[in-house]
C-alpha cells in the first residue's frame, strides 16, 4: 500500500500487520506460485518487445513525434485561470471565499497565540504534557520554546504553529471520515488510493502557482497547499486502523445487537485510535516539511528566515531557523503522542500512589497557565519575546563549515579518497554520467516491456500492465530524457542508503547504545528542511548530480536504518533461542535466522527509501542535479506551469512504478 514517506517508527509498526506476509512461509509461497504461474503472460510481453523492436528499431529514447502537447495544454489551463481569476463566478464566489476563510482562521489562531503571550503559550504546552503524565516532555517543551524566543524567531514560530494547528485540524476533520468511508467500501478505497498517491508524491512546487491564483497568497494559499500535501496519512491510517480491529471483536459487538454506527463509534474508532494518532503525527511531519515552500507564496513563519539566509549564503542563519523547525516537529509529535497515550491508557494505574492527585494537578496547571498569561500580558509586554535576549548560531556555524571545507574538499585532504571534490568527480565521471547515458539510451520498447517483465515476475499480469503504462506515460509527458537523469541519481542514492543504512540498522540491533545515539540524529535528518543543507552539499560536492545524490541520501537514510533495526528487533525470541541452541555463531545467526526473518521489513525499508529519495528530487534540482527536479523548480520560477506539472507528474509516475516493483505481491485483504 503506502507510498507514504513514512518515517515514524511507530507508524511502521502499525503498518506491518496488513502489509507484510508472515516471514519465511510467505516467501516460500511466493516462490511456489512463481513456479506454478503460467508463462503465457511472459511470452506475450516478450513478443510485444520483439515486434516493437522490429517496428521501432534500436533508436535510443522515446520517439519525440509521439509526445503530445501536454505541456502546452497545461499552460493554457493556467492562462485561462490567470485571465478569469477575478471574474469567473466559481472562483469569485466559491474558491476565493474559502481561501479567505481559511486564511483568516490561521490569522485568528495566530492572534490567540499572541494574546496568550509567550509565557502563556509555554505554560499551556508544558502544562498539557504534565497533565498527560510526561514530565520529561514538559521540560523539553520549555527548553525548545525558549529557543524560539532566544533566536529572535518567536513570532515566526507562532505563525508556523498556527498554520500547523489549522492544517492538522482540517486534515483530521476531512481525513478521518474519508478513512472511515474507505474502510467501509472497497469502491471508495480503490477510488481514493491513486488520488492519495498523487497528492503525496506530486511536489508542492508544481501546483503552487494555480493555488495562489485561485485562493490567494499568504495563509490562504499556504494552508491549501499544506493540506493537499499532508492529509493522506490520516486517511490511510484511519482506514488501516479500522481494518486492523480483530474480526472477533467486531463480531462480538454485532452479537450484542450494535448497528453499524454504534459499532463504529463504540468499537472500531476507539480501537483504531492509535493508528489515527500516528496518522496525525505523520500529518504534522509532512506539513512541517512544506513550511519553507509555503514561504514562497507568502505564508511567512519559520520558512522566511531560511529563504533569507539562502539569499546571503548564510548557512548558520539557515540552521538556526532549521533547528527551530525540528524543535517544532518534536514538540507537536511528543505532545500529540502523550495526550493520545493518556487517553488510551488503562485505568489500572489508578491504584498507584501519586504525589499529587490528578484533580489537584489539573487545578495547579490551570492556575499556572492563567498566571503566565496574565504575567505575559501585563509584565512581558504582550505576545513578543523580549528582544534583548538574542542568540545566533550564525558565526560559529559558518566558521566551522568553512574550516571543514578547507580541510575536506581539496586533494589529499583525506588519505586514499583524496577529498570530497575528488570523490564527487569520481562518482560523477565513473558512475552517474555513464548510468545516465545507459538509461537514456534504452530504446523505448526495451524500457516499457522490460519493466513489464519485471512487474510480471514479481506480481503477475496486472502489475506488468500497470508498470508498462507508467513507463509509457513518462515518455508521453515528454520527460523521457530528464527522467533518465533523475532515475540514475535515484538509483545511486538508493544503493548508498542500502549500503550504509542496513549495516547501521544491524549494528544498532547488536549494540543497543548505538540505537540511542542514532535516534535523535535520524530524527533531525528527517525533519531538518533540506533547504538548510543545500549550501553545505554544494560546498563539499560542487554543483551537479553528486550534490543531488548526497542531499537525497542524507534525507532518505533514516528509514533504511530504522526499519532494518525494527525488523530485527521484532523477531520472535523462540526463533533466536532455537538458533542459539544449535550453537550458531553471531554471523550465522544473522545470515540464516535474523535477516531472513526480517526480510519483509527490510523490503519495506527499501520501498520507503525510494519514496523519500523521490521526494528529494526537487532539492536535487536546487543544487544543480538537473532532471525532473529542475524542471519543477523552473515551472514555478519562470511561470512555466505546464513544464512544472509535467515533470511533477513524471515524478509521481516514477514513484508509483518503483513502489509497485518493490512491494512484492499485493497484500491479501482481510475479509
Amino acid at each position: 500500500m503506502t507510498v507514504v514517506a513514512e518515517s515514524n517508527e511507530r507508524a511502521e509498526v502499525a503498518l506491518k500487520p496488513v502489509q507484510l506476509p508472515p516471514g519465511e512461509r510467505a516467501n516460500k509461497l511466493v516462490a511456489a506460485k512463481l513456479l506454478q504461474r503460467p508463462y503465457s503472460g511472459l511470452f506475450v510481453l516478450l513478443l510485444a518487445m520483439v515486434i516493437s523492436a522490429i517496428y521501432g528499431g534500436f533508436q535510443s529514447g522515446f520517439p519525440t513525434s509521439w509526445v503530445p502537447n501536454v505541456t502546452t495544454w497545461f499552460n493554457s489551463v493556467a492562462n485561462w485561470i490567470t485571465v478569469h481569476q477575478n471574474t469567473a463566478p466559481f472562483f469569485v464566489h466559491f474558491l476565493t471565499p474559502i481561501g479567505n476563510w481559511l486564511g483568516n482562521s490561521v490569522n485568528a489562531v495566530t492572534d490567540v497565540l499572541n494574546w496568550l503571550s509567550w509565557p502563556g503559550v509555554i505554560a499551556l504546552f508544558a502544562g498539557t504534557a504534565v497533565l498527560a503524565g510526561k514530565w520529561r516532555v514538559a521540560i523539553f517543551v520549555v527548553i525548545a520554546m525558549f529557543y524560539f524566543g532566544l533566536i529572535g524567531l518567536w513570532s515566526a514560530s507562532m505563525s508556523t504553529l498556527a498554520l500547523m494547528s489549522v492544517a492538522v485540524l482540517i486534515s483530521v476533520v476531512l481525513g478521518v471520515p474519508l478513512g472511515i468511508a474507505a474502510a467501509a467500501s472497497r469502491v471508495v478505497e480503490e477510488a481514493i488510493r491513486p488520488i492519495l498517491d498523487l497528492m503525496q508524491m506530486l511536489p508542492a512546487y508544481a501546483y503552487l502557482v494555480p493555488i495562489v491564483l485561485l485562493f490567494g497568497i499568504g495563509n490562504s494559499g499556504g494552508i491549501i497547499a499544506t493540506v493537499i500535501y499532508a492529509i493522506a496519512p490520516v486517511i490511510r491510517l484511519t482506514m488501516l486502523g479500522i481494518h486492523s480491529v480483530p474480526y472477533e471483536t467486531v463480531e462480538a459487538g454485532k452479537s450484542f445487537g450494535s448497528n453499524k454506527w454504534q459499532l463504529l463509534r463504540k468499537v472500531q474508532l476507539p480501537m483504531a485510535l492509535k493508528p489515527i494518532v500516528l496518522g496525525i503525527n505523520q500529518v504534522i511531519m509532512m506539513a512541517l516539511s512544506v513550511v519553507v515552500i509555503a514561504s514562497l507564496v507568502g505564508t511567512g513563519g519559520l520558512g522566511d528566515p531560511i529563504l533569507q539566509a539562502l539569499n546571503i549564503v548564510d548557512v548558520g542563519d539557515a540552521l538556526t531557523a532549521g533547528v527551530a523547525i525540528v524543535f517544532m516537529a518534536m514538540i507537536l509529535d511528543r505532545i500529540v503522542s502523550a495526550v493520545a497515550e493518556n487517553v488510551g491508557r488503562n485505568v489500572s494505574t489508578k491504584g498507584q500512589k501519586q504525589l499529587i492527585s490528578p484533580r489537584n494537578l489539573r487545578i495547579a496547571v490551570g492556575a499556572l497557565v492563567i498566571v503566565a498569561i496574565a504575567l505575559g500580558n501585563v509584565v512581558g509586554g504582550g505576545g513578543s519575546f523580549p528582544a534583548g535576549l538574542s542568540l545566533s548560531l550564525s558565526a560559529p556555524v559558518n566558521s566551522f563549515l568553512s574550516f571543514l571545507q578547507s580541510h575536506l574538499y581539496h586533494f589529499s585532504s583525506i588519505p586514499v579518497i583524496g577529498g570530497t571534490s575528488n570523490l564527487s568527480s569520481f562518482t560523477t565521471l565513473e558512475i552517474l554520467n555513464p548510468l545516465t547515458r545507459i538509461i537514456g539510451d534504452f530504446p523505448w520498447w526495451l524500457a516499457i516491456f522490460g519493466t513489464g517483465v519485471i512487474g510480471y515476475l514479481i506480481a503477475g499480469w496486472r502489475r506488468a500492465v500497470l508498470v508498462s503504462i507508467g513507463v509509457t506515460a513518462i515518455g508521453l509527458l515528454g520527460m523521457w530524457t530528464d527522467a533518465s537523469v533523475t532515475l540514475s541519481q535515484v538509483l545511486v542514492a538508493l544503493v548508498l542508503c542500502v549500503a550504509i543504512g542496513i549495516p547501521l540498522g544491524i549494528a544498532a540491533y547488536w549494540w543497543p547504545p548505538l540505537e540511542k545515539v542514532l535516534r535523535p540524529i535520524l530524527d533531525v535528518l528527517q525533519t531538518m528542511p533540506a533547504f538548510v543543507y543545500l549550501i553545505p552539499v554544494v560546498l563539499f560536492f560542487s554543483v551537479g548530480n553528486m550534490a543531488g545524490v548526497t542531499a537525497s541520501f542524507v534525507y532518505a537514510l533514516a528509514p533504511a536504518v530504522r526499519l532494518t533495526n525494527l525488523g530485527l528487533r521484532q523477531i520472535k525470541v523462540d526463533m533466536i533461542e532455537a538458533g542459539n541452541s544449535f550453537g550458531a555463531t553471531r554471523f550465522q545467526m544473522l545470515r540464516k535466522v535474523e535477516l531472513p526473518a526480517a526480510r519483509p521489513t527490510i523490503v519495506l525499508a527499501i520501498n520507503q527509501t525510494i519514496m523519500l529519495v523521490l521526494a528529494e528530487v526537487i532539492v536535487a534540482g536546487l543544487v544543480g542535479a538537473g532532471g525532473l527536479g529542475y524542471d519543477v523548480v523552473v515551472g514555478l520560477g519562470r511561470d512555466e506551469f505546464g513544464l512544472g506539472l509535467s515533470a511533477g507528474l513524471a515524478i509521481v509516475v516514477l514513484g508509483i512504478v518503483f513502489d509497485r516493483l518493490t512491494q512484492g505481491r499485493p497484500a491479501g485483504r482481510r475479509s
Binding site: 485571465v83 477575478n86 482562521s105 485568528a108 489562531v109 492572534d111 490567540v112 499572541n114 494574546w115 503552487l208 495562489v212 491564483l213 490567494g216 497568497i217 499568504g218 468499537v267 476507539p270 480501537m271 514562497l296 507564496v297 507568502g298 511567512g300 522566511d304 529563504l307 533569507q308 539562502l310 539569499n311 546571503i312 549564503v313 487517553v343 488510551g344 550564525s394 571545507q405 581539496h410 564527487s424 569520481f426 565521471l429 554520467n433 543545500l534 549550501i535 554544494v538 560546498l539 560542487s542 554543483v543 551537479g544 548530480n545 550534490a547 534540482g621 536546487l622 543544487v623 544543480g624 542535479a625 538537473g626 527536479g629 523548480v633 523552473v634 514555478l636 520560477g637 519562470r638 511561470d639
Partner: protein, 339 residues
C-alpha cells in the same frame, strides 16, 4: 479488555476537545476584534502597506528603506512579505500586495496586468539598470587577459572543464527564475561548453565562492546590482552587442548580449485612492545601484538589522529621502519583449 474503560476517556477527550475548540474560537473572535480595534486607534484606520521581498538581497534593501520612510514620515504600518516573483503579480493585481519596488523584465505579466486589465500600475523606474551577462573572477582575467571577450572564452574552453560537463567546459547558470539565453549563446557562438543549471542562487554562489577561495577558473551567469560584487571582484566578459534585430530572434537562435533591464516598480491600481501619500512616495522612489548595494552590504555582511541599515542610510541621505516624499514620479519605461 479495555474497550469499555477507554470509552469514557474518549468521551471526555471529545468533550474537552470541544470545549477547547469552542474557547479558541471565542477567544479568536475577541482576539481579532480587539487587535483590529487597537491598531485602528493608533494609526487612524490606515491600511497596512505590503511590500514584496523577492529572493535577492537588493529587493530586501529597497524594502527596508521604504518601510522606514513610510512608517516614520507617512505613518502607515508596513509589512514586508517574502514572495516568489511569479505569485507577486497576481497578488499585486488582487491588492493583497501593495507594491513591488524592483521588477526585472516580466514582459508577459506586464501585458496581462498593466496593459491588459489595468489591475497593476507601472510606478516608474527604480533607478539602477540591471546588467545581466557572463562574468569571471577578476583574478582569472589577470591570468588570461583574452577572457575579456567571448572569443577568448571560445579559445580557452579547456580551462572550464569539470566532471559534470566533461569533455566540455562548464558554464554555470543560477536561479531558475531568471531568464537565461546562455545555452543558445553557447550554441550560436560555437563554444565547446555546456550549461550547468545550479538550480538556485544559493547553490551558484556557494560554487563561485569555492572556486574563488582556491583561485580556480570559473565562468558564470551573473548580474548587477548585487552586493556580492563588493565582496568579490568579478569582471564581465564582452558578448556580441545587443541589437533589436537579435532580440526578435527565436529564443534558441539568440546570438547577442542580454538587453539592459530598466528596473521598475509596480503597485496595485487602487493604492492611489487607499493610500495616496504612499502611492506618491512609491512613484517617486529611486536610487542608484551603489545606494542599494551599500544597504544590502550592511545587512548581509555587516549583519545589521533591516531597520538599523535603513536608519543609517536615511540619516546620511536626507535630501534624497526628501525628494521621494515631495518629488515628481520617476519616468516610466515598459519592459521589452524577451525580458
Amino acid at each position: 479488555m479495555s474497550i469499555s474503560s477507554r470509552i469514557p476517556r474518549l468521551k471526555r477527550l471529545v468533550r474537552w476537545g470541544g470545549a477547547i475548540a469552542a474557547g479558541t474560537v471565542l477567544l479568536s473572535a475577541c482576539g481579532s476584534s480587539s487587535s483590529s480595534s487597537s491598531s485602528g486607534s493608533s494609526t487612524a484606520a490606515k491600511p497596512t502597506i505590503t511590500l514584496v521581498t523577492n529572493s535577492w538581497e537588493g529587493s530586501l534593501a529597497n524594502n527596508v528603506v521604504a518601510q522606514y520612510v513610510i512608517e516614520k514620515d507617512l505613518h502607515y504600518p508596513v509589512k514586508l512579505l517574502d514572495l516568489a516573483e511569479i505569485p507577486a503579480w497576481p497578488a499585486t493585481a488582487s491588492g493583497s500586495v501593495s507594491a513591488v519596488l524592483e521588477v526585472w523584465g516580466h514582459y508577459n505579466h506586464y501585458q496581462t496586468y498593466v496593459v491588459g486589465n489595468h489591475e497593476v500600475i507601472n510606478a516608474g523606474l527604480e533607478g539602477p539598470t540591471g546588467n545581466i551577462g557572463w562574468y569571471i573572477p577578476t583574478y582569472l582575467l589577470k591570468q588570461h587577459p583574452e577572457l575579456a571577450t567571448w572569443q577568448g572564452v571560445k579559445a580557452d574552453w579547456k580551462l572550464f572543464v569539470t566532471p559534470q560537463t566533461a569533455p566540455q567546459g562548464e558554464f554555470l547558470d543560477g536561479a531558475p527564475s531568471y531568464v537565461t539565453n546562455d545555452a543558445a549563446l553557447i550554441n550560436t557562438l560555437g563554444l565547446n561548453m555546456k550549461v550547468v543549471y545550479a538550480g538556485s542562487e544559493a547553490a551558484q554562489l556557494s560554487q563561485i565562492e569555492t572556486a574563488y577561495k582556491a583561485k580556480k577558473p570559473i565562468i558564470f551567469y551573473w548580474y548587477t546590482p548585487q552586493y556580492f560584487n563588493h565582496v568579490y571582484s568579478f569582471s564581465q566578459v564582452a558578448l556580441p552587442p545587443f541589437t533589436q534585430a537579435c532580440a526578435k530572434l527565436p529564443a534558441a537562435k539568440i546570438d547577442c548580449a542580454y538587453p539592459p533591464y530598466y528596473l521598475y516598480k509596480i503597485m496595485n491600481s487602487k493604492l492611489p485612492t487607499t493610500a495616496p501619500s504612499v502611492a506618491k512616495f512609491i512613484q517617486a522612489f529611486n536610487w542608484t545601484a551603489a545606494d542599494q548595494n551599500s544597504v544590502s552590504y550592511d545587512m548581509a555582511v555587516n549583519k545589521m538589522s533591516g531597520s538599523a541599515a535603513a536608519a543609517k542610510f536615511v540619516n546620511s541621505h536626507q535630501s534624497l529621502v526628501q525628494s521621494w516624499l515631495t518629488g515628481a514620479p520617476t519616468p516610466k519605461k515598459a519592459p521589452v519583449l524577451g525580458t
